[in-house]
Amino acid sequence: MCLAIPARVISIEGDKAQVDFGQGVLKGVNITLVETKVGGYVLVHAGYAIQTVDEKEALETIDLWNEILSTGIE
């Protein structure tokens, strides 16, 4: 039940934002708990954005893992 899904912020009005879950699935969410901007990604749980997604970190993570996995360190 702690499922949370990333979505892209389309527009912001006060503490509400329209977010895009992909392929045009739009939803209004409350953004009181995060600092975000239009175009940014947020993690949505039960109608609330609970975190801003660190895109750079996301992209780097996998590269880092590939690196770790291809070295001999165990």
Partner: protein, 380 residues
């Protein structure tokens, strides 16, 4: 829960940060990790047991058949990670009694069928009570605003991921006809309890990513430090979980228990400080009962005294001390702490099915029994 299912269905469609999602499901990378895991596995006669405490982790593990990628002597068990399953019968009884006073109860879909001592909210609804499913607390508030003459209660179930959403609403100007029945629970105390369960013998924790989004890393520090327990916060894509297991195994092999963050794209060391602040403003931490587990100190959130006007227990004067948590023959109490697997319960898929659930673990879509019952790619 039904609405989570809805979110899950959308899950695959999200084009999030280019092909990020697909990369976290990359079969090639999965193979690489599982090869590493095989290489690092202990000798056959040595059993290693890692424990997660999150229904969504169980879903990923079962749905993608990740257990089949692990050597047979590395086990991943499911601890108390389903917030609906651990709501004690007494709190369902309170909701039922409040509903029977003519108050509208709003709740997440899964809560509806959780057994109380005598009946579930669904059964109360069948007898005429007004019980409505909502997607989140803000929907419940909207319903209350639309019908100001009726009293509304939001049955607030969930771990730290969900509690801040309740806190935001309670600290706003909630309508006079609205109050909260808080069943929020905290995860770290449940993890600590597992370490005390005699013959469970856990070798590492896969800590829940979305709880950690809120609470950050700090609350887990005691596990490696005090209990020498390897602990890795992990996300929910198959690669996240496999990588988490690999990191645990590595710590185990090196005999250097530490706290690591696999899910750094979402989880910050300090958590979501805004969320933590509102939670602290709205709630105080109290001891409470967990279904199948019993009383855990400092494990639940109760509205602060100054917000008592919004506390449904106070508003309607209803307090149920003891309820009947486990029905005869149901092994939920053992499934919840990871002591047995669902199919070790004699009733699993016989007298207890998703269509006719007996225990709470079969009711909620995040319950271990339910996850096992509804996934065909399962490998035990």
């Amino acid at each position: 829960m039904r609405f989570y299912q809805q979110e899950l269905n959308n899950y695959d469609k999200v084009d999030f940060g280019m092909t990020e999602r697909l990369r976290f499901r990359d079969p090639e990378l999965a193979k690489k990790i599982s090869k590493k895991i095989l290489k690092m596995a202990p000798p056959k006669d040595e059993l290693i047991k890692f424990c997660h405490v999150c229904g969504t982790h169980e879903w990923t593990i079962t749905h993608y058949g990740l257990r089949s990628l692990l050597p047979s002597n590395i086990e991943v068990i499911a601890g108390p990670g389903c917030p609906v399953c651990i709501v004690p019968a007494a709190e369902i009884d309170e909701a039922v009694q409040i509903a029977q006073k003519g108050v509208v109860i709003t709740c997440f879909g899964d809560v509806l069928r959780v057994p109380g001592s005598q009946k579930s909210l669904l059964e109360a609804k069948a007898e005429g009570a007004d019980v409505r499913i909502v997607y989140g607390v803000s929907d419940a508030v909207r319903l209350a605003r639309a019908e100001p003459k009726k009293e509304f209660v939001f049955f607030a179930v969930g771990f730290e991921t969900t509690a801040p959403t309740t806190a935001v609403e309670v600290l706003k100007k909630t309508p006079q006809n609205f109050s909260f029945l808080s069943s929020h629970r905290l995860i770290p105390p449940a993890m600590e309890l597992l370490l005390g369960v005699g013959d469970l013998q856990i070798d590492g924790f896969l800590a829940p990513g979305h709880v950690s989004v809120i609470i950050g890393m700090k609350p887990y520090e005691l596990f490696p430090r005090v209990y020498r327990m390897p602990t890795v916060v992990a996300g929910f894509e198959p690669i996240d979980v496999l990588m988490g297991i690999y990191m645990l195994l590595k710590q185990n092999k090196e005999k250097k228990p530490r706290l690591e963050n696999e899910y750094s794209r979402m989880v910050k060391w300090e958590g979501n400080t805004k969320a933590l602040k509102v939670m602290d403003k709205a709630f105080k931490v109290v001891g409470s009962n967990w279904r199948g587990i019993g009383r855990l100190p400092n494990s639940a959130l109760k509205l602060r005294k100054e917000l008592e006007a919004f506390d449904a227990n106070e508003k309607f004067g209803i307090h149920v001390e003891q309820g009947k948590d486990i029905l005869l023959g149901c092994e939920c109490h053992l499934v919840i702490i990871g002591k047995i697997k669902p199919d070790e319960c004699p009733m699993f898929m016989k007298s207890c099915t998703p269509q006719k659930p007996v225990g709470a673990c079969m009711v909620s879509s995040e319950g271990t029994c339910r996850v096992w019952a509804t996934t065909s790619t399962r490998s035990k």
